[in-house]
Amino acid sequence: MSFQIEAFQNRYLAPGTTTVDAILQVTATAPAAGGNAALVVGFIIDTSGSMEGERIQAAKRAVLQAIEMLDERTTFFVVAFDATASVVVRESRATAANKIHAHGALRDLKAAGGTAMSTGLAAARTLFSRTPDAIREAIFLTDGKNESEKPAVVATELARCAGVFECDCWGVGTDWQVGEVQEIARGLLGKASLIPEPSGIGQAFAAAMAHASQKAVKDVRLRLWTPQGAEIVFVKQVNPTIEDLSSKAKVVSPLVHEYFTGAWSSHEARDFHVSIRVKPGNAGDEMLAARPSIVYLEPAAGSWQEQEVKSPKARIFASWTQDETLSSRIDHHIAHYTGQGDLAQAIEQGLEARARGDDGGATALLGKAVRIAYVSANAEMTQRLAKVVDVIDPVQGTIRLKKGVEKAATMDLQLESRTTKRVARGGSSA
């Protein structure tokens, strides 16, 4: 397993300008033969009273189907939570015997009680802590509000879980809070998604299993060297989703910072936007503004080995020139992701405006979102927006708010607002 890193930027700056922006495209390349990473998958399932009936039955079936997909090298466990958590299946190798045991244990699971999500996370953390050497992926399912505890309790527990395991979250139905579930997913390097009907849980979990078993390396970090006197303004992941990593920086040395991105699967690709402020230069001066590299842990003979990948193509430069035709150009990768950032913001603010009854503000903001989605050929987002607004003219961003929008459509749009379209390779500045 290795990585390819490539930087895209306009290196030319007008004299006096000190901010250097670049998009880094990082692609994991195929794993080397043999030496697979140990994987532990934990299911964290809401079994509060509201799950009773079709939801809990579908959730049980989905967990059992997902376990069937695992091979014997993988370890799994199942935690159920209402106001408190219990271990339904403790960590076990996915052998035929253990799968049969899981069937029995899940059969007796009943839905009752309140909802305290932190208890489920804490139980999973305890089990995951026993396998520090594995890639650890959790699947979290809920259907309701986190009504049995204060939000601060979840925040505290998330801080403990961060770095122990990663977690993708699903909410079934529409009676749950996007913000609550998203907080858990974002805190644990995962994604929050909506499953409209219980029948969809099986498919969602199967996809999650397929994704988890592709994970090949862990502790992947974007490492940035910057020269003396320079300052990192921000580091954001911009694809597949927008995540500001700036606050998660770890200082390795005065000139080297690292940004944690979790476990990656083979062939995974992510883009990052790096912004650096350098010391001012004169026309004709050139300097290296940043030297990005990828540091990761790779399975090797039963343990993990740290690797670093550098690339001459990943270097970010600052080059001052009097020539305005050079310095005024905006690299099209940066333009694209700046647009996707504006799109996410317009959606989030537009939905907020609509929720508080500001129809004028919502129309303007969601109209802007429709226009950016259309111009950047983000078809998925255009479709999601069309379920919430009537599009009159996508080029101008002329829309009308829909009456009687399905709640699921609004929640889905809110959940996916920061999912970006990947920049097209090559091409001219757009």
Binding site: S2, Q4, E6, A7, F8, Q9, N10, R11, Y12, T29, A32, W225, T226, P227, Q228, G229, A230, L255, V278, A283, G284, D285, E286, M287, L288, A289, R291, V309, K310, S311, P312, K313, R315, F317, S319, T321, Q322, D323, T325, L326, R329, D331, H332, H333
Partner: protein
């Protein structure tokens, strides 16, 4: 290796402390007082080191040195891809030397040359586990006392280059370092399979380019050759 600001850099291309280019020529020029347009020996527009004082255009941004203004639009190379191959510039065969002779860098012609041959794992962007980069191999210093064939040793075909490289990305007859009668050096790519770069710029297959103190030649999967003029 010391950079132009006197930092001890652990990197060969740009200083690991201040980010300035690790080119002794650029440092000598800036110490001597750079002209307003930019340090002598580098392009005033993009800062690329000038490999050929008689070339009219910058090899990277096509800045016109003779008229001191931006040249025609760059071709086949954009700022998004700093390491992308660039077509060689079109130096006019009758291009006179820089008109203002006093402003031109005054080269002290080194009387002897040597090549520092280093293995740079950072160049190995697509590592092959079956042939890992020997990152710990020591640097070699090779004197250029005659023309040198650079390439991969092949006993079976009885090819023994003067500068033999154990780099699977190099061709058996990859490049040649040529000494001219006037003591200057040139690099000639011998139509190698994977190409040769001079200061990060592709040398067109088969073409010959002058090389000078501080120039860096990269080839194969991990080989970096630094040119040094030994006075």
């Amino acid at each position: 290796m010391l950079c132009s600001n006197g930092h001890d850099s652990s990197e060969l291309d740009y200083c690991s402390i201040c980010g300035s280019a690790m080119s002794p020529r650029a440092s000598a020029a800036s110490a001597a007082g750079a002209p307003a347009a930019g340090p002598a020996g580098t392009c005033p527009s993009c800062g690329e080191p000038r490999t050929d004082a008689s070339a009219r255009f910058c090899e990277v941004c096509r800045f016109d040195f003779r008229n001191n203004r931006p040249g025609p639009a760059p071709m086949g190379r954009s700022s998004e891809a700093p390491a992308a191959p660039s077509p060689p510039p079109a130096p006019s065969p009758v291009a006179p030397p820089v008109t203002n002779a006093s402003a031109a860098p005054t080269d002290v012609r080194p009387s002897a040359w040597e090549l520092v041959v280093a293995i740079d794992p950072a160049l190995d962007v697509e590592p092959d586990p079956s042939a890992p980069c020997p990152a710990k191999a020591p640097k070699r210093v090779v004197a250029v006392d005659r023309d040198l064939l650079v390439g991969r040793e092949d006993d079976r075909r009885d090819i023994h280059p003067d500068l033999a490289l154990a780099d699977p990305g190099t061709s058996r007859r990859h490049a040649k370092i040529v000494r001219s009668a006037d003591g200057t050096l040139a690099l000639q790519d011998l139509a190698s399979t994977n190409g040769t770069k001079l200061n990060g710029v592709d040398v067109a297959a088969g073409s010959r380019r002058p090389i000078r103190d501080g120039d860096q030649i990269t080839l194969g999967r991990w080989t970096r050759i630094i040119v040094r003029g030994r006075p």
